[in-house]
């Protein structure tokens, strides 16, 4: 038996074959080859595969998004076969007697550079298309699979760590659980796992080795233990836990359709946090009463250039319609800090968490903001959309955001495009500054939502990305809980509601404290909705105390 110990970051037990995540941008190494004909045959095969994929994408697009987007993929398919592009590869192949991967990469760089040097902004942007096509050919040449998982059966996905853009591309139907060498409870892998309701273990370090691929792993996302070839005792313990997990699931299913109400009649709104329209089924399956945080970053992270208004509109509309009249709080882009996107062209910062991020980008670059706001307001005609601004520290920021909203509404009026003029506007409470001026902020907006990860980070001066801060990064710290109370009192004095959309919302050990503070909404991972509902239904709000604010 081999036992590995990591940090459990998403609960549950599972077992399955280990599969190591293949990076799509696997590095190309130049090798000498003796058989150029074989290389040419490999290219032909990769081209054929690429064109097939692109045509399939074009068909899919035509059904879902219309002709315009489909033609782009068809153009990509033509790039794959472009005479000059291919000639360039063949020339490198013959002159350098190298492998095809190197020849393709060289051609890609050369053609991308040619477009990048043009004086026309539109044409410069096409160099991204060339890079995209080059990457596709290379992936097919090297056997890298889109979605990262080339397996017929579901796997336990292993990786060093996964970047946000990588987690987005994963084929989620094939993942039983995650284990990573690095990462923390706040990493994107952990958040994704909790959304999917599957176990995840991070921080396994070097003990997790690529040669373990294919072996069956038994993982426990609560204890952070991974076992290969478990002995009898370990296996029995695993099976017992699995049985309990299955019974729990049956029990939790009885919570579906129930109200989120305490024994003494206090009703809460239990909402879900999601990262893309793909998470919608998880919300509905777990009977979430709404969406308290729809992170819009996915649109930006998965794109190679700024997503246009229509692309955004379609995504927001899909979620708004999917929730069928229930509230959907969409947060405007929260790029910066740990979520970096190349085409935003951000200056390197010494302290990105304290740098130009989130609403600061939007207020500095009104065009980016306007595109997103237009898409949001257009989507507001299709459901109960609410807009939320992140990283607020000052009243003037909120006023500027509202001015931007008013401008967009005026534009839509003039263009005769439908929207809901009463769309709720709220802000994230995640900086100490926003807590101190919460009374003034509450007069400007329709709701507050507390981002507990960032509020903890900024209140306690603890980097949430750092793994070794351990006991110092304490979301239960009285300072954090008192900040919650200050914000809640300010919200209620102004007659608006306040929610929590950070991970802390699902922390059942704080439920009584939240009830005592008077939190109105808890937005959690879809998989946490039913356990939270069960806990709420056993609570008595009147008897809850604020003792945790004192210790």
């Amino acid at each position: 038996m081999i036992l590995l110990q990591g940090k459990g970051v998403s609960k549950g037990v599972t077992s399955g074959p280990i599969y190591f995540f293949r990076r799509a941008d696997a590095t190309v190494v130049k090798r000498a080859v003796t058989d150029p004909e074989a290389e040419k045959a490999r290219l032909a095969e990769a081209q054929e595969k690429s064109i097939e994929q692109l045509n399939r994408l074009a068909d899919k697009c035509r059904e879902e998004a219309g002709d315009e987007a489909a033609v782009l993929f068809e153009t990509h398919a033509m790039f794959v076969e472009d005479e000059d592009f291919v000639d360039c590869m063949m020339q490198t192949l013959e002159e350098e007697q190298c492998n095809m991967e190197y020849a393709v990469q060289q051609a890609g760089e050369q053609f991308a550079a040619m477009f990048a040097a043009m004086d026309d902004a539109y044409m410069r942007a096409r160099s991204a298309d060339i890079k995209d096509v080059t990457a596709r050919i290379l992936n097919n040449l090297m056997g890298v699979v889109e979605g990262g998982i080339d397996s017929d059966v579901p796997v336990v996905l292993a990786a060093d760590d996964l970047a946000p853009s990588e987690t987005l591309q994963l084929d989620k139907s094939k993942i039983l659980g995650f284990m990573t060498q690095g990462g923390s409870g706040n990493s994107h892998t952990a958040i994704l796992a909790r959304t999917m309701g599957i176990p995840a273990i991070c921080g396994l370090g070097e003990a997790l080795k690529p040669e373990m691929e294919g072996r069956i792993a038994y993982i426990d996302g609560e204890t952070g233990k991974v076992a290969l070839e478990p002995d009898e005792i370990t296996l029995a313990a695993y099976n017992a836990k699995l049985k309990k997990q299955q019974e729990m699931k049956v029990l939790m299913d009885t919570m579906k359709g129930q109200k989120d109400v305490t024994l003494d009649g206090r009703e809460l709104m239990v909402y879900c946090n999601i990262g893309s329209p793909e998470d919608l089924p998880a919300v509905l399956n777990n009977d979430g009463q709404g969406i308290g945080l729809f992170r819009s970053e996915f649109l930006y992270l998965k794109a190679s250039d700024f997503p246009d208004e229509d692309t955004q509109f379609q995504a927001y509309k899909a979620v708004a319609e999917g929730l069928n009249g229930k509230r959907v709080v969409i947060r405007t882009l929260d790029i910066g800090a740990d979520k970096q996107v190349a085409y935003f062209d951000m200056k390197k910062e010494e302290n990105p968490a304290l740098g130009v991020r989130a609403i600061r980008i939007c207020l500095n670059r009104p065009e980016i903001f306007r595109t997103q706001l237009r898409a949001l307001y257009r989507a507001s005609a299709y459901g109960k959309v609410a807009i939320m601004f992140p990283m607020i520290t000052s009243v003037w920021e909120v006023r500027e955001c509202k001015r931007a909203c008013a401008k967009v509404m005026k534009e839509l009026d003039q263009e005769g495009i439908p929207y809901n003029p009463d769309t709720e506007i709220g802000i994230m409470i995640e900086t100490p500054a926003s807590v101190f001026v919460a009374d003034a902020l509450a007069k400007e907006v329709d709701f507050f939502s507390v981002g507990t990860n960032d509020l903890t980070q900024y209140t306690l001066a603890c980097d949430r990305q750092a793994n070794d801060l351990g006991k110092f990064f304490d979301p239960h710290h009285p300072a954090v809980l008192r900040a919650l109370k200050i914000a809640a009192d300010a919200a209620h004095a102004a007659g608006i509601w306040i929610g929590i959309c950070g991970e802390l919302g699902a922390d059942l050990s704080l439920l009584e404290t939240f009830l005592a503070i008077g939190i109105d909404e808890l937005s959690v991972s879809p998989s946490s909705v039913l356990p939270l509902r069960a806990a709420i239904r056993k609570s008595i709000a009147k008897t809850c105390t604020l003792e945790k604010l004192e210790s």
């Binding site: 033609v71 153009t75 033509m78 472009d82 000059d84 592009f85 043009m118 026309d120 096409r126 298309d129």
Partner: protein, 86 residues
């Protein structure tokens, strides 16, 4: 050889989408070759990347030519395509 001059009206010039459609069309005439010339540069219309790299913008005038057994048919279809799309 048949040829004609054409002034681009599309505000984006010959961008990826119509260039792709043009290349597809130009490939469909068998032995008949369709070319585009501008400022002394000539490329085949089927050379998608080269066509895009010419950076042809709105207001630019290009010379389109067809050479080969089906040149009459080719030139008419290309003219129609350009008028409808660019």
């Amino acid at each position: 050889m048949k040829q004609f001059d054409f002034t681009i009206k599309d505000p984006l010039g010959i961008h990826a989408r119509p260039a792709g459609m043009f290349a597809k069309l130009a490939k469909g005439f068998g032995d008949t070759v369709v070319t585009i010339s501008k400022d002394g540069n000539t490329v085949k219309a089927s050379q998608l990347m080269k066509v895009m790299a010419m950076g042809i913008k709105s207001g630019h005038t290009i010379t389109v030519a067809a050479e080969g057994p089906d040149e009459d048919k080719a030139i008419e279809e290309v003219r129609k395509f350009l008028e409808e799309n660019l």
